[in-house]
């Protein structure tokens, strides 16, 4: 058994930024555990640009963005192990990992930060009707095959879901010579960032079928044909609206799910969106275990991930230094009308900062609305939004001095602008 102040599980953007955040707040005895042969995580397969506009005020590719953070980790001499898989953790913060060189290593940590990212919802998870031949891949898997291994997954492609990776792959596959016949989205609106809609679909004349889903896959060994259908208000395919496409590949971009096996294994309290329930320091309901980045909630932009992870690193450092309050009294944060979820889900209200940062997504696109913060029933802040959409995470700050006590409920809701 070795001892470490802080163990960070995952060496992608969140893990590296969390390490930097903790280090810069005085905790230097850190170990980052990364499963792949490189730091950087999924950024390494995202060779397109568009990363870093907030963080570095310039447009970088995924590997370039990762490189900037690898340099920050190296500049601080923060130790990390690669090709290493965490096989278990417990509530006493013992982390067991394994790799080919060291065998099995047990680490007793004072604090743990979970930065294990997310995984893609698969065809099986939504039970796409029809046959189950080869040629149905998630967008990230197609991206991994293409960008890291150098293989094109198909020549005639249809994409289900308008998530950002799907849009990025529509362009990427087209540039590599594949024909992308269309993108179907079950919702009546797109699920990707606006810039990706424009740059990846419209610029390449790839049609987008809103309120459509794949209603049938046909193919014995490999996908031969798919059918899409329009969906009704309950998202069920409407008979008679089928359109058929002869394709060899169906790519799915139907959502990302936090990769929370480890926290689930120790019965950490989870939210409806399958991330941990955390306070404003990103501490879960298990003492000294923190969560940040896509394993906490799925972000659109890596810039937001690293900002959040630095805060989690700071939170873990404060915890290790005994500076985080250990109080029972907390404010519960709730998603009200029109809001899908809110992070953090609770507030301990200590004196470490002046402002609280809230992140949330709305359930449906709206125009001319107020975001309303109500504390114990009383409206304490309203922010006007001319346009608000589910595919873009909202980040709003709330001055702490608006909260008069450290108990009760804070509700974030969407209110229509009065006529």
């Amino acid at each position: 058994m070795i001892n470490k102040d802080l163990v960070i599980i995952g060496g992608g953007s969140a893990g590296m930024a969390a390490a930097v955040g903790a280090y810069d707040h005085g905790v230097k005895d850190i170990l980052i555990i990364e499963r792949s042969p490189f730091l950087g995580g999924i950024l390494n397969q995202c060779i397109h640009n568009g990363f870093g506009l907030t963080e570095f005020k310039e447009e970088l590719t995924g590997p370039e963005f990762a490189y900037r953070f690898i340099e920050q980790v190296k500049a601080r001499n923060i130790p990390y192990v690669l090709d290493s898989t965490v096989t278990s953790i417990n509530r006493d913060k013992v982390v067991v990992y394994t790799n080919a060189k060291e065998g099995v290593v047990e680490v007793q940590a004072k604090a743990i930060i979970m930065a294990t990212g997310c995984y893609e919802r698969s065809a099986g998870a939504i039970g796409i009707p029809g046959d189950r031949p080869a040629g149905i891949l998630t967008a990230g898997q197609a991206q991994l095959f293409l960008n890291e291994y150098g293989y094109l997954c198909g020549k005639r492609i249809f994409i289900l879901g308008s998530g950002d990776i799907g849009l990025i792959m529509a362009r990427r596959l087209t540039l590599e010579g594949a024909k992308v016949l269309g993108v179907a989205e079950i919702m009546p609106w797109s699920n990707g960032l606006n810039r990706n809609m424009v740059q990846c679909l419209y610029d390449f004349n790839i049609p987008l079928y809103l309120s459509h889903t794949v209603s049938k896959v046909v193919g014995k060994e490999r996908v031969e044909r798919i059918e899409i259908s329009e969906v009704d208000a309950h998202m069920k395919a409407i008979p008679g609206t089928e359109q058929s496409f002869n394709v060899d590949t169906l790519i799915l971009s139907i959502g990302l799910i936090p990769n929370n096996d480890l926290l689930n294994s120790i019965s950490c309290t989870m939210s409806r969106t399958r991330g941990a329930i955390v306070n404003e320091h990103f501490e879960t309901d298990i003492d000294g275990i923190f969560s940040c980045g896509n394993v906490l909630h799925v972000h659109d932009l890596v810039d937001n991930v690293v900002a959040e992870a630095r805060e989690a690193g700071k939170g873990a450092a404060l915890y290790i230094q005994g500076k985080l309050p250990r109080e029972d009294q907390v404010i519960a944060c709730l998603a009200g009308d029109g809001v899908g979820y809110v992070v953090p889900q609770k507030i301990v209200l200590d004196e470490s900062d002046d402002n609280l940062l809230f992140k949330f997504r709305v359930k449906a696109p709206s125009k001319n609305v107020f975001i309303e913060y109500a504390f114990n029933g009383e409206v304490i802040k309203r922010v006007f939004k001319p346009v608000i959409i589910p595919s873009e995470m909202e980040i709003e700050s709330l001055p702490k001095n608006l909260l008069k006590t450290n108990q009760g409920t804070l509700t974030v809701s969407l209110k229509a602008k009065e006529a």
Binding site: T85, T87, G103, V104, D131, G150, Y151, L152, C153, E221
Partner: protein
Amino acid sequence: MKDVIIIGAGAVGSFIARSLSRYALSVLVIEKENDVGDVTTMANSAISHSGYDPVPGTKKAIFNVAGNKMMPEVCKELDIPYGKVGTLTVAVEDEQLPMLQELLERAKQNGVKARLVDAEELKKMEPNINPEAKGALLCPEGGIVNPFLLPVRAMENAMDNGVELHLNEEVTGICKDNDHYVVTTNKEKYEAKVVVNAAGLHSDDIAKMIEPISWSILPRKGEYYVLDHYAPGLVNHVLFPLPSAKGKGVLVTMTTSGNYLVGPSSEVMEDKDSVSTDVPTLENVKAQAMMLVPKIPFNQQIRVYAGVRATPSTHDFIIEPSKKYADFINVAGIESPGLVSSPAIGEYVATKLVGAVLPLKAKSSYKKTVKPYVNPLLLPLKERNELIKAHPEYGEMVCQCEKVSLGQIKDVLSRSVPCLSIKALKKRTRAGFGKCQGGFCQPQVVRLLAEHYHVTPLEVLYDKPGSSLVKEEVKKEAK
């Protein structure tokens, strides 16, 4: 000239091969798929039924009960995950209670341990059961078994004892030539003294090559949901509703890998080879399952699948020589409870039916066990550490969801049963079976298979020929 040709390497064919491998016989198994156990055997409920349900005196009853008794020992010899968790057949309405009594009687006649549990005890045993449930029949000898490894390891054991296996070879004709058979495939012609037809869904097609038959196989599809490793305790037993004419009904069970299965439907169909799923059928499965367990976490769904049962028109297993020839043996219509029956069927076919036409001389070299498989995660930390120090590949994790190491993958690639596809590797190791369904590890698995078989990734198959995952190499000049 072979002594025996077995057509079909499902659970039944594999166990017949294993039982025959004890004797000094030359045995060839011909399988049309790209792996053993690739059709009905791999897509079912993965249950070791106790045998309370089949009509007493039928072959189903006899082989089910015998097979279930053999299962713990067989699984030990072949290193197959098995759990004697017990089954509960649940009455959800008062009117169903007399049926439980009937089933109890039937269990007694079949020689199966069983007892009735009342609503109160049932709720203690199964906290998540429908609160309206009235009672259940408990069969403590029923259990769960890994259906992927059952045929693979039985065949491995058979091959280690000298049996020959040809995959991707389809029998196209059989004719009797005096004292032997000529079996023609899409690749070769073989001669054999005895032919065993264990061709599953196509066993009627094979049987007809020899003589007209009075029975047929009526394909009946079952669709299922697979849920991820959920916190243990959603169910503690295999939960069945009361059986009906259509089958055992929609069950809720855990698997030997800690997942949960919900299904199957029961649909009569025409195409024997279609394993497609559809929304209304699965919705119906869901609704029926929720009669047993109202709060099934379907948000943990990671896969849906369908299997096709080889339902015989006779409604009982057909395990007998053909009408004309004692040395042409039909083993057909092995629908549920076929998986659990297969070790007993294997023994019977080898010793009684093949034994009736060929001398069975025991081989002194016969070994009944497979070389043990190592799963580092099942070892205590100290032993795991020693293993990895000695064999570093067991410390290199390929599949993160199911925690499958490179060492385990190389092990299955080195065994006697060929592991030719991504799916074959998945069935043996669970790599790609988890929540991401291969999203992260499949490219690496493709690379490992390509390296092992000295082919390019373009030639690595997901399953059958024509099922490669990638279509074209890019930036070749840059490499």
